[in-house]
Amino acid sequence: MKHRVGTSLLALGLGLMAGLGAARADFWSDAGAKYKGVTLHGVTESTPPSNYVKDVLAKEFEEKTGIKVEMETTSWDQMYDKAIKDMEAKTGIYDMVYIEQDIIYAYLARNFLVNTSKMLADNPALKAPEYDEKNFTTFADYFKGDDGGLYGVPMEAFIKIYLYRTDLFGDSAIKEAFKQKTGKDLAPAKTHEDYTQIAEFFTQYGKDKGEELWGTTSQAHTGHPASWYEYVESILPTFGVYNWGIDASKNYAASVANGGTMNSDKAKAAMKYLLHLRDIAPPESASSTWTEVATTFAAGRAAQGLVYGENAAWIASDASKSKVVGKVGVALPPLSEGVMADAESGKGYIGYYDGGAFGIPVTSKNQEAALLFLEYIGQNSVQPGWAVAAPRITNTATYDDPQVKEMDGKLGGYYTMLKNDGKLFAGAPKYPFHAQVREAVAPIFYRILTGEVGPDEGVDQMAAAAEAELTNLGYRK
């Protein structure tokens, strides 16, 4: 009898477990049933992480829920053009839009986005068992509104790192030649002076050897915002100029005269540094955006460079696209004195913590189905494969996955750096006017790049133009 009761209890327990397991496994088909036949439309930038969403995650989601996802991947400019026009005109074409970290403040100011935290709290039936906002790294904080709600589910996060060629830096003959020339050991640069010396050395080395090799990459397009971002997000901070040199607490001052730092001596030194590196970089640099910088490095044309982390994986591991597979090392960017201390104390930062999220426009007609999709891509279980395909990590647990650890080795410790030193980097300042100020100031910046205006004079003009635009926009009183 006792045995029979025990067996029955065991059977019941197993049955319940199996039942619960089935219910858990069926969450997506159950939740999706209500929206079967719905087609979600999203727009995003064509990048490796977005392409993974389009090619892999969207298809998995469709199989599990019956909800179709059409993800449009396009250029950075077109993506914003389409998303903003749609939300502005309230046409409701898109159910999901890519939100780069620097535009979230503008979108929040315009009430473009749905508060996903509130929506889940209001609709508990939509809550996927595996989805939890607590799973995200602190990068998710950038997508929170003043009410604490999450307005975008992080889909990519990476730091702009200093890549260098381990084969060149480890070559004994090159090391010897470098030591003879500079009196220093050849190692990844810690300061701007070191970086410049290494860049000059390798550019000369390439010339002497008749090789297509230069000392550095340079994202210095003379008509594309990429060069502006290189300056304000990657170079200025390393000289100790933060938040584009604009101080919101001082009536949005940009000029030194009014309390800003956009035309400070440090900013002028940063500009000259950028110009010099551009001059000793490969000739395509004056037409290079973030994409071309990565391809230049992958083609083996530069010994070192600042490269967006999203490109690090394919540069380091995809032999079909990159000539430097297995020859890539990562390091923190070179810094001026005091910048590391600023970053550690939270007063400043050493580079750009880039990334983005998917948000749901308030104009979407399929908000609930879109939220299901965002939960799907926010689960811990889908992250490792995604992180291997494109070097982005948005969930804390991803770091410990064996696949990711293996990839970390191939990337020269990039993920370890993201985990340990990510806190030293920062996203764009919390301004809702990035594009507006950029477009007001960038034409002067481009003229500095072409040499039409000198760097000192040009930087002064940039600060004046920034303040004029901020006044015009009504932020500066």
Partner: protein, 294 residues
């Protein structure tokens, strides 16, 4: 009376479409042009500011530079297209081996989308990978770098436009040449007129309407060019190729300065109309007056 009603009825769909997609947006742009409106400003609503946007653009160096470069671009591009197009049309009037093949190849650029044209030219001109810089360096020792040389970038945008649009001019002028009567030319030859006299006194006056129509179309297109140049140079280096269409796009979309962007659009529309009118007066009116006198 009845036929009038039928006429209006038949015209109605066109009028409705024209009103919806032409006149209403124009009135809206006109309305916005008199407002300060940047949705990402501290005050995102529309604020009436009279003629301030129009006053501002008179002193806006970027706008004036963009206008100047656009006029230069339009002048060089359209003039070259008409001259080359005319010579090609004359070439196609004659018989030569492979004429059909050459005519087809020559027309192909017309069916390529401007954005693709820009992309292809960018690939061809990017230093290090582009075929054009490679051969210029190999054959002439000239380093072409459109990211650093404003003149080279400007000239390349003109050449790209010529490559893309000359076939249109050729086809239009070819149609005009084919339709010319033979008698005046035969009479001129009998009278001993030289080739240049025939060109200036017979061919040119007879194809003048076709030239005028082509120049109008190409001029209006050249004044609003965006896609190709955006892909090739992004408007750079500096402002060397930031033509007015691209300038308006940058003011209206990334900068979201809708009021000011609308004001610029209106002024550019006005300038285009004035230029077309001047062209019309210069090329057609004297001929008409001469006829009246005769």
């Amino acid at each position: 009376m009845r036929s009038n009603k039928v006429g209006w009825l038949l015209l109605a769909p066109t009028i409705v479409v024209l009103a919806l997609f032409g006149i209403v947006p124009f009135i809206y742009v006109l309305y916005v042009g008199f407002h300060q409106w940047n949705p990402f400003g501290a005050n995102p609503s529309m604020i009436y500011n009279g003629a301030n946007n129009f006053r501002r653009l008179v002193f806006d160096a970027e706008f004036l530079t963009a206008i100047w470069y656009t006029l230069k671009f339009a002048l060089f591009a359209v003039l070259s297209e008409v001259v080359i197009g005319y010579f090609l049309a004359q070439l196609f009037m004659r018989e030569f081996p492979g004429k059909g093949f050459f005519r087809t190849i020559h027309t192909l650029p017309l069916i390529v989308a401007p954005i693709v044209v820009g992309s292809v030219w960018r690939l061809m001109t990017t230093p290090s990978i582009g075929v054009i810089p490679y051969y210029l360096r190999t054959w002439f020792g000239f380093d072409l770098n459109i990211g650093r040389d404003p003149n080279a970038a400007f000239i390349l945008t003109v050449i790209m436009d010529i490559w893309h649009w000359t076939p249109l001019v050729t086809l239009t002028l070819l149609a005009a040449l084919v339709s010319l009567p033979k008698e005046p030319f035969e009479q001129a030859e009998i009278d001993g007129a030289s080739r240049s006299q025939i060109f200036w006194h017979i061919t040119l006056p007879m194809i003048r309407p076709a030239i005028l129509a082509t120049v109008f179309i190409r001029l209006m297109d050249a004044l609003r060019t965006v896609d190709e140049v955006w892909m090739l140079t992004g408007g750079g280096p500096g402002a060397a190729t930031r033509y007015i269409g691209l300038h308006i796009w940058k003011v209206v979309f990334p900068k979201t300065d809708y009021g000011y962007g609308s004001a610029i659009s209106l002024i550019v529309l006005y300038l285009t109309l004035v230029m077309c009118w001047l062209l019309y007066v210069a090329l057609v009116a004297p001929r008409r007056d001469a006829r009246k006198v005769a």
